[in-house]
């Protein structure tokens, strides 16, 4: 029964070992580098999505006639579809992923995620999925049926656009699904000793909830997308009314995913804000447990409201009532979080730095977006609002005023940690003020335009509707937003080039990532920390004096063990690998093969299988 040890054959190829240079970025499995890859990629997509938005606002700045419209109907359809697809799937989601990747191991005191190569695989599949969708512009037409792809328009439309949508989103969805398994296991299983679930930073909790949302909602979208793909390529009948198919099925499947998805988009930002506000109020988060449970409740109830996107489809009074009620209920945990954030700031010693401004901006803009959201929950009111610009106003307030502001707060907050540099505060504040003014100018008027009856998704509007003034204001606002982004980019470049070097803890913060150098070494922690409390770092630095005020503990932030353990020698990190990228490349090949020629399918499958086998069999060192 004894197993004879077989000498390890020298496997080919050998694992890459380099950690510098271009190739090292292709083979990295380090969560911090993968986080940067996600962040930079998302930012580039943000610029593209932003240009798409500017095109929309240019087209709608002034009333006109169909012939004189800036963008013809077909082009406009592609632009607004891709704007939505880009911002949701290729910007906000990956920005969230960037933070999950970089921050989760640091916040829980781990050296990396549970499955580093799988993590790299997720990134490459995401990138390739995004490129696949965009390749439509070069290959006969980008997706043009709306980001929500309503059938049977999406299943029967001419041109390859919605096939790029169906397959491309499938690919991107795979990336997120795989990542969700990775992060759930990481958070459950790789916390440092002493870090119980209720001592985790709120951002980690939000990451956990988001990844459960993705885990359970993406498979439903996957089926919808498969059905859409089959309808388009092999002429099945899932959504074909002439053969008895029901387009409403698509809406159910899409929104069963789509609603949890919007919580996927907002919860990371809420997590970031929950980290930033305490630091810059010099107070712990008010009602940690309530914020955590509210986040979990939002995730859970989020699965029960999807048909509020379908009020106007004829589901009937019982369904409409039930979903109207559940939608109102979900406002409650959200409200709890808002009050807790306000409570955090109340009587705090506020420092209005750039990250703090963006977090406060988040709270204000998200409340506005939430209020309009609650009005949609009233079904008869929604009948008036649906498909008008009132809805566009709502979701931009929560997704831009909410998610994007929150994400920028995180970018500024953790910038010193990621880059080892400080950014310029004045430029940061300029970015904030330009952005909040531009943002409100762009989307505030849309509430009015919607209530005045301006429909969505039209490539021009006629004079004499009474919509001229606010559309012009909105378009000007959009360009102010664009300027604010430029300010951010200038700030970023200047900081990277010659910003002041950042210390480990430039903000006098509360959590574990600020105990290690900026930027962190590859192995994160010299010694895995032992956690004794929530806001572990704060408690190391400050005890309370007789009046309950924070009093610094001498050398409390110093980790004494650091010197004993010689600064990280002998720590075993997973080696880089090129198999995740290699395997990922097979997937878009299969996608193109489904659209063009079976030989590409074969090539894709071979690539994928080779990649997977190489991955499984490669030596550990």
């Amino acid at each position: 029964m004894a197993v004879v040890a077989v000498p390890q054959r020298r496997s080919w190829p050998r694992r890459p070992t380099t950690t510098t240079g271009f190739v090292s970025w292709l083979t990295t499995v380090d969560h911090k580098r993968i986080g940067i890859l996600y962040g930079v990629t998302a930012f580039v997509f943000m610029l593209i999505g932003g240009i798409e938005a500017l095109l929309i606002r240019l087209a709608l700045a002034r009333p006109t006639t169909p012939d004189a419209a800036l963008l013809d109907a077909d082009t406009y359809n592609q632009i607004f579809t891709m704007h939505g697809v880009t911002m949701v799937f290729l910007v906000v989601m990956p920005l969230g992923a960037a933070f999950f990747n970089y921050m989760t191991p640091l916040l829980i005191g781990a050296r990396d995620v549970a499955f580093p190569r799988l993590n790299a695989f997720s990134y490459w599949v995401f990138l390739l999925g995004g490129l696949f969708i965009y390749s439509g512009f070069l290959l006969g037409g980008a997706p043009d049926g709306g980001w929500f792809g309503y059938a049977s328009l999406s299943s029967l439309s001419e041109g390859p656009g919605m096939t790029f949508y169906a397959i491309g989103l499938q690919i991107a969805g795979l990336a997120s699904l795989v990542a969700s398994v990775n992060f759930i296991v990481t958070i459950i299983n790789m916390r440092a000793p002493g870090m119980s679930l209720m001592r985790m930073p709120v951002f980690v909790w939000m990451t956990l909830v988001v990844n459960f949302l993705l885990l359970f909602s993406l498979p439903i979208l996957a089926i919808g997308l498969f059905q859409l793909t089959f309808d388009r390529i092999w002429l099945t009948n899932f959504f074909n009314p002439t053969m008895g198919g029901d387009p409403i099925l698509w809406q159910h499947l899409f929104w069963l995913f789509g609603h949890p998805e919007v919580y996927v988009l907002i919860l990371p930002a809420m997590g970031i804000v929950s980290e930033v506000l305490p630091v810059f109020s010099r107070k712990p988060l008010f009602g940690y447990a309530a914020v955590v449970f509210a986040g979990a409740a939002i995730g859970f109830i989020g699965f029960g409201v999807w048909a509020h996107h379908m009020f106007a489809t004829g589901l009937g009074a019982i369904a409409n009532t039930a979903f109207g009620i559940s939608t109102m209920i979900i406002a409650v945990p959200t409200g709890i979080k808002i009050f807790n954030w306000l409570g955090t700031m109340w009587k705090g010693a506020l420092r209005l730095t750039t990250p703090m401004l963006f977090s406060i901006g988040f709270v204000m803009m998200f409340v506005i977006g939430g209020l309009s959201g609650v009005t949609h929950a009233v079904v008869p009111a929604d009948y008036q609002q649906t498909d008008t610009y009132y809805i566009v106003a709502h979701f931009h307030y929560v997704l831009f005023g909410g998610a994007i502001f929150g994400l920028f707060s995180g970018i500024y907050y953790w910038w010193p940690k990621f880059t080892g540099r400080m950014f310029n505060e004045r430029l940061g504040k300029l970015h904030f003020w330009l952005m909040i003014i531009g943002f409100n100018m762009t989307f505030g008027p849309m509430h009015i335009l919607g209530l005045q009856g301006m429909p969505r998704r039209q490539y021009f509007f006629s004079p004499g509707q009474g919509w001229d003034f606010w559309n012009l204001v909105s378009s000007i606002g959009a360009f102010i937003i664009a300027v604010s982004i430029l300010v951010f980019m200038v700030n970023a470049v200047r900081s990277l080039a010659k910003g002041k070097a950042a210390e480990a803890d430039p903000w006098d913060a509360r959590t574990l990532e600020w105990t290690i150098p900026s930027p962190p070494p590859a192995h994160n922690f010299d010694e895995v920390p032992t956690v004794h409390a929530r806001d572990e770092l704060w408690h190391r630095k400050y005890a309370e004096d007789t009046e309950g005020r924070p009093a610094p503990v001498v050398a409390g932030a110093q980790d004494h063990h650091q010197e004993e353990h010689g600064g990280g020698h002998g720590i075993h990190l997973p080696l880089p690998s090129f198999w995740p990228l290699f395997a990922a490349l097979g997937i878009p090949l299969i996608g193109y093969g489904l659209m063009y020629h079976w030989s590409l399918i074969v090539a894709g499958v071979v690539t994928l299988l080779t990649g997977l086998y190489g991955w499984m069999l490669e030596p550990l060192e």
Binding site: I188, F216, H252, L256, A319
Partner: protein, 105 residues
């Protein structure tokens, strides 16, 4: 494993091949029953047919999950993860089918 501890708990703690074969036999018998009642006209036409089938297949499902997949003897966390997905699928899709009027013939 020759510990002279309580043999009973050892067996409950970890089924061996013999127990697995017993489970498999039960599964086969239940399947046979399912097929049999499909062909017995008076059961097939009765209102009890569908609930009986659902019950029988639920039993099979449960047995494979609890014994073959070892969930009965493993950490509760695994069960919770699986049941979460299962419960969510059941509730969501029952609601969807209800809106289509599927359960009202």
């Amino acid at each position: 494993m020759t510990e002279r501890t309580d043999v009973d708990t050892h067996e409950r703690a970890h089924p061996g091949p013999r127990e697995y074969v017993k489970i498999a036999v039960i599964l086969a018998v239940i399947t046979a029953i399912e097929v049999a009642i499909f062909y017995i006209e008076f059961i097939k036409d009765s209102a009890a047919f569908v609930p009986t089938l659902l019950l029988l297949s639920a039993i099979k499902f449960g047995m494979v999950v609890l014994w073959f997949m070892h969930l009965r003897f493993d950490s509760r966390l695994f069960g919770r993860l699986f049941v979460a997905g299962l419960a969510l699928a059941l509730s969501l899709f029952i609601v969807v089918l209800l809106t289509f009027g599927v359960f009202f013939k």
